[in-house]
Symmetry: C3
Subunit: 481 residues, 3 copies
């Protein structure tokens, strides 16, 4: 702690948000690197290559419709919407940071997915015969998933970091994600279809640790910009709803063909529906006069989708999904009411979007639910073949049993937490270097720092304008407007 | 009438919009009930259960792609978007009720779909061998459909009811819907793929009757909030467009595999395109200086989708779809211009969103078009097998002929109207009880009642601010903002 | 030139934006014509007709899932979203032309797609046995594509034309498109899956030529309305993101089943990701203080999708897609910075949305990339069967070789440019007639001309309000608001 503290002090510096050299440099260098690495490593797989027709005939596949594209493309597009519109617009709630929310989300997602294709490709899709990564639609989905982890982390530091810092955060985030995912899914053999552990727990703690490392003691100097305005809250609901509606696609996108995708979609649909009701209940109950708080509606309603991620493909049962959603709505909303202020005050973690309540906690719950559900699986419920299919008890793991699988799930959860916290502290150190162009404490949450803003008198509170006007002794209509 | 009148007077009361106890109570009790009922009744069907692999082999199904999930999931997601973004944002047009529009839409849809899965399940998906309801993706679509009926009704009372009243309205609405649907589709054997009768006619008259029961003679006291502002109209266009674009999925979501879904999508696409042109024409023709009215563009452009709902799966022919759309654009827009003010003044029906013009009338037209198209069906056009497939002339109805089917369709329409009006009056009585926390007449259409609003000086007309300011003798710049 | 100039002067006239007769007349006449023509010509094809069941059995098709509907419907819906929400909202960036942007886009797309079904049907889907056009889901996609060309052209004249002019522009645009497309795809046998040439190059030059013909020397009189405001820029990002996310569906919607659709989606996904980074880099590098410009983020990020359109179905290779995107981000952004002002000043082309940078230039690049990629195709990369499939070397073209195909691609590009420029000048002449109700130079970019606007004090710069107020000597709070 002392060490971290002194490192923080070393890094305190005069702030300069000019990224005119650093941002283009990072973009060009990294995009060029991507092109070179893609040239060396990445090729189409047998389902997206022109040899598909021959492959089809050789493998006795009766129709083009059996191409994995048709199993997964609709879900892929839904996930894509979640990443770019969902995450992007969810963060537009701040009154003067909508450009940064949706624009930087766009930038880091577009970079992250390229790097993710490489990192995940090396671990999962490397063809050892020619040393190439062979990609298809499932790789695109996984790349989007990987990016989701970094976008979650962005939520914790929204408005407080520069785009260059975000690019660095994404570079390391994707790298850590790919390693963590390989350990959890392949080495530990945990199942995590919707990424409760791999995506949400990791992404949540990664962002929170970075935010802790970048703690700004005087952030209240920009408190005037920390709230929402009426229309920015409506914009944020666009993000909320597209995340909410397409979450069934998120959790079912890479599950097994057939019943796996079908069941994951149903479970997620139900869990999310249940969350909405308990979120509304708690929001109303804990607010003066029973009024609802948009922050809760925008965020906590999604917690059920996070928490059902791991178990969505299991036989969680419809009522099981409802119970998971029920609990998460309560916990997440209470988190916004009590935990976020507590963390800011006592733990020095400033969590702009409350990702602890929306991703980290529900992710951990999701991991636990997954472990319990897996441990409780029986042949009478799943059927012999169903059990093997669902938990992939094949190859090196053909002697696995449900109870042990439960233990492996729990181990996976621990790995995700460790990678999140450890990685976040490491990357936080890097991001404290005084070279990244982040804003000063009194200048956070302001698009002014990184965006050309329209000359837009509307957006300044009008009475201030009037007062400025008066002070300038300049009331003639010709000079205004 | 006299009885209703006196009942109204009895219910007049001091208004209190505090729902701090009632709303959480309703949410918790009902969600808990859902969990218990789902635990007792709801299970996965054979296509979403882990036994699918064995089922597939036993039934000689060659590929996972034959799972109903792949036939319907893309349409399901489109319908889901219509329910949550489409209906939600369509209602954001009011300048200060966007939170209520999109937020309460979210709440009642999330509750309604759970209750719909149960109600519709008992009627349609009950497995008599074990007494369980077996659900798959088609049930999810039907639940969304059922909810649509209640959201239509919400449009009539938008801004005038409390969230608790909406929950009650949805509980009864879903119940009535399921019964009505069972009578129309199963007992009467009418076909209604896109729900012109079952969803739109029922939902429209249900909402209008409730609005009539809740008539507010002094609603003009909140007329300052009854209009739109520039940006709220743009938000509403998000709703309009997502409804418009995905309506082909709505009407084809539960039709027969193959040509049924294909044809329903084409017919709906064409009807909607045609409606846009006649809506624009009438809107311009009846407005001073030929200017277009956003209310018409936001709403009447959708009427063609409603009116083609029943006949979309029939051989309506492309030009038939265009004609239906042509007429509905005219009728619906004229409805907004003449009928809505007439109904408010003379029939005491205050219809906030004009659902009579968008859902009720076009729904009735859709029912009539369906009856005519069915009665006119011939083997030469449909083919023998096509006729049987399309109208489901099988089992108990294997001796059915098209002309008689036309009569059954008409009967179905009558049932929908009766259930809508009767159910609406009944539920309206309940909603008049002085316990629900709805706003006073001068306080309608205001998010202030149920939402914590951002301190958002922008949204108050600026000159009022200035005046308030002056009255407070408080012009120092430091204290403002 | 001199001739054009004098024609321009002849057409100068007193402006009157009242379209109360002309707009309804055009809508009614054209929609009625559509109904008649559809009645005479358009029928369902064998996959959307009730005879499908018999067709299936006769052709030994094992399952309903082989209906083309299931191969293309998800992509169709994505394309539909791009046309209506994507193009519509992308143009909402102007502070007072959001109604016109999204509303007129809606109107002309709804008309254009009907006319496109006919025009394209005559060329591509005419059944010579009965003289009918047989339509299915692929026709719907192609109609949407055709409309896209006209919507691109709308971008160049946004805010400067009346809805009647737009209808005329769309009528001719669709007609020209269908002829041009037939020449390029069928006669020249060029391939153009994503329409780099057929849609974007044609649409871009069509719009630019019209804008040149309609040059307004005094357009700076409405410069006060030519910019964006904060929220209008966020609305425009909705358009940008839906275009960006669904572009893989656009480029893969009508490619070959199986690997063709799969590969086109992957290539487009990658090209677009790469474009985002170079757009951000150039935007920051060329702006004072390194601040990003929303115009670039909203538009140039999409250029990669345009430029990869033709080659998306070829074996462009993942790194090839990245390179295309890389270059287009740079060129398109530099176009906004240098070329658009240059064209306005020296070429008298006023390009409201900068379609030259987003569609025309990237479209030409796409045509060139397509020609090179086709010419470089080899059997070792594609496989014998893959080569024949991908380039359709069948029937009359069975002796075609890749190098010659490259030449045909280049010829196709020239045809698209010629049709765009020639058609645009022709239609521009028609649109200069003084009968269409377009606005005066000082009245452009203002929804006031064609829309009933809400009484919306917010949207007037507040200090002006205050001043107006003062001048009216009318400060009493009762009369304001």
């Amino acid at each position: 702690m002392g060490c971290v503290q002194s490192f923080r002090e070393i890094c305190d510096r005069q702030k300069n948000t000019n990224v005119r050299l650093s941002l283009p440099a990072v973009c060009f260098v990294w995009q060029t690197a991507m092109i070179i690495l893609f040239g060396v490593f990445i090729r189409y797989n047998e389902e997206s290559d022109t040899h598909w027709v021959e492959h089809r005939k050789a493998n006795n596949i009766s129709s083009d419709i059996e191409n994995d594209f048709y199993f997964r493309y609709p879900s892929f597009q839904d996930v894509h919407v979640m990443i770019f519109v969902g995450f992007g617009f969810l963060m537009t709630f701040l009154k003067r940071y909508s450009f940064g929310a949706v624009g930087f989300n766009f930038l880091i997602a577009a970079f992250g997915l390229q790097w993710a294709l490489l990192m995940q490709g090396w671990f999962h899709s490397l063809d050892y015969t020619d040393g190439k990564i062979k990609i298809g639609v499932e790789n695109l989905i996984n790349a989007d998933f990987c990016v989701a982890g970094c976008l979650i982390a962005y939520g914790a530091v929204l408005g407080k970091v520069s785009p260059v810092q975000l690019m660095v955060m994404t570079l390391f985030g994707v790298t850590l994600f790919a390693v963590e995912e390989y350990i959890i899914l392949n080495l530990i053999h945990a199942r995590d279809a919707g990424g409760s552990m791999v995506i949400h727990t990791f992404g949540g703690y990664y962002g929170l640790s970075i935010s802790w490392m970048l703690y700004r003691p005087n952030l209240d100097q920009s408190s005037r910009l920390q709230g929402s305005c009426y229309h920015s809250d409506v914009f944020a609901m666009i993000g909320t709803l597209f995340l909410w509606m397409f979450w069934p696609s998120f959790n079912s996108a890479i599950t097994d063909h057939g019943d796996g995708q079908h069941r994951a979609a149903i479970n997620t649909y139900l869990a999310l529906a249940s969350t909405v009701l308990t979120t509304v209940a708690i929001s109303s109950l804990f607010q003066k006069h029973g009024k609802l708080d948009m922050v809760h509606i925008q965020n906590s309603t999604l917690a059920g989708g996070v928490a059902v991620g791991t178990a969505a493909e299991f036989m969680l049962m419809p009522y099981g999904s409802l119970i998971v959603g029920f609990c998460c709505g309560i916990i997440s909303t209470l988190g916004y009411i009590y935990l976020t202020p507590f963390m800011e005050k006592h733990l020095k973690i400033q969590d702009t979007c409350g990702i602890h309540n929306l991703h980290a906690m529900p992710g951990v719950i999701g991991g636990i639910v997954g472990a319990i559900t897996a441990a409780a699986a029986t042949e009478s419920v799943y059927g012999r073949e169903g059990l093997v299919n669902t938990f992939d008890f094949e190859g090196a793991f053909k002697d696995m049993v449900p109870t042990r699988q439960g233990g492996h799930q729990a181990a996976g959860l621990c790995v995700a937490i460790c990678f999140g916290i450890g990685g976040g502290i490491l990357v936080g150190c890097i991001l404290r270097l005084p070279i990244w162009g982040d804003a000063a404490d009194d200048n956070c949450f302001d698009d002014e720092s990184y965006w050309e803003l329209p000359e837009d008198e509307e957006s300044v509170p009008p009475i201030l304008q009037y007062n400025n006007h008066m002070r300038n002794k300049d009331v003639s209509p010709d000079q205004s407007g």
